[in-house]
Amino acid sequence: MKELFQYTELVKNLTIKEFKLRYRNSVLGFFWSLLNPLAMMVILTLVFSTLLRAGIRNFPVFLLPALLAWRFFSTSTSMSLSSIIGNSPLVTKIYFPRWLLVLSSDLANLIGSSLEFIALFPLLVFLGMKITYLALLLPVILILEFMLIIGVSLILAPLNVYYRDFNQIWDITLQIGFFLCPIIYGISLIPEGYTLAYSLNPMTRVVESIRKILYYNTLPTVADFAVILASGLLLLLVGFLVFRKLEPRFAEEI
């Protein structure tokens, strides 16, 4: 934490660097990143409302906020996975606290996802939703999700230095995770016996909370917040321990 204070300027510069590098090679830049969820929305809406007739009212609005919340998690974690090896010219040449690389990668995604959510609002209105004061809770939920993301990133990034195929494993894990979270379906579809185990997944809670405030217009429950916060703190703790253990040999293993 002291390091964070000492290196604020560095964190700022690294975050800007990440952000620039991501969008630099295309003129449309940020708009490309919007295209991906929009395309997903169109396809999934076609599949679920026209072909499968799942009968979910206003499916695009049901889907899109949940999709963006999941995207925030999946893109952040898979990008920060390579944040150490991707910066090997820095890591092997000069000292600074290495976890700041992970933090900056995640921060760049926090900015990116926030912009995506901002772009979402006009679309939601266009699709016939009323935005209520509940939307003010969105930043709170995103910050809580950000805690989960940093915790997971701090575990993944150092492991990827030692095991280079870790990104493949994480890709598969994310694919499974996509279907384990109530993104393209509602939580009501989960059979009775599984609901407890199912609702302990913090990403389920994140996706559900965001859907509650933007689609159902209800408040997330205290349990929602509690599960996300508790797992966030736990992941942060584990993340810092893993990172501290593996950090000293980064420059040799990279």
Binding site: Q6, Y7, E9, L10, K12, N13, L14, K17, K20, L21, N87, P89, L90, V91, T92, K93, I94, Y95, F96, Y162, Y163, R164, D165, F166, I169, P248, R249, A251, E252
Partner: protein, 249 residues
Amino acid sequence: MHVIQVEDLWKRFKIPHERRTTILENIAGALQILEGKRFTYEEFWALKAVNFTIDYGESIGVVGENGSGKSTLLKIIANILRPNRGRVKTTGKIAPILELGVGFHPELTVKENALIYGSIMGLKNSEVKSRMNSILEFSSLERFRDAKLKNLSSGMQMRLGFSVAIETDPDIFVIDEALAVGDMEFQQKCLNEFKKFKAEKKTIILVSHALNLVKEFCEKTLFLSRGEMINFGETETVVDEYVRRVRGS
């Protein structure tokens, strides 16, 4: 007053006979161990029981054959590698210039790299920006300020590294063979800077095979061979011993 204290420093590298960098390879390797094959690796001590101190205002040279542990020592002093045993205590800000470049990102421009490097060294962006002109001037890279680093030649990268590093006001300079790729004009500029540092009582640690450079700038010299400290003392004596050894063997 000690600027750098190196106490009983040991560093080991493990060189596996088959390198495993993926989980799949590790699982395959573990299965082989079950079958009775051993996971073997070579142990290589890059540094063995190295001890020395550098006092305020001193500059030291480090000489030795390839693979004698010079670069490893510098990386440990710069806190990039961690020793297996022993420790290094340093006072002041260290600017390492190791094997070309100081920690730059190839995809970023000259200016962007200068900002990041500056902030690693604890400078505010505004401070770096106000020194940008003198950085570009010193490195003669004005024309390339918006070029990506990967498009610069290795000599240009090194010039930029050196120019940025001197603008961050370090107390200790750790230089590993960096000057070799610069052209004559730039080398001369660097030597003038070195003279200024020395006048300001800053510390320089210089790894170099250019023995006349070491003789000119360093009061003391450390002679390493196969990770062991052969001698540490007055430059003339130590360098002469190094030359004698090389000729003798």
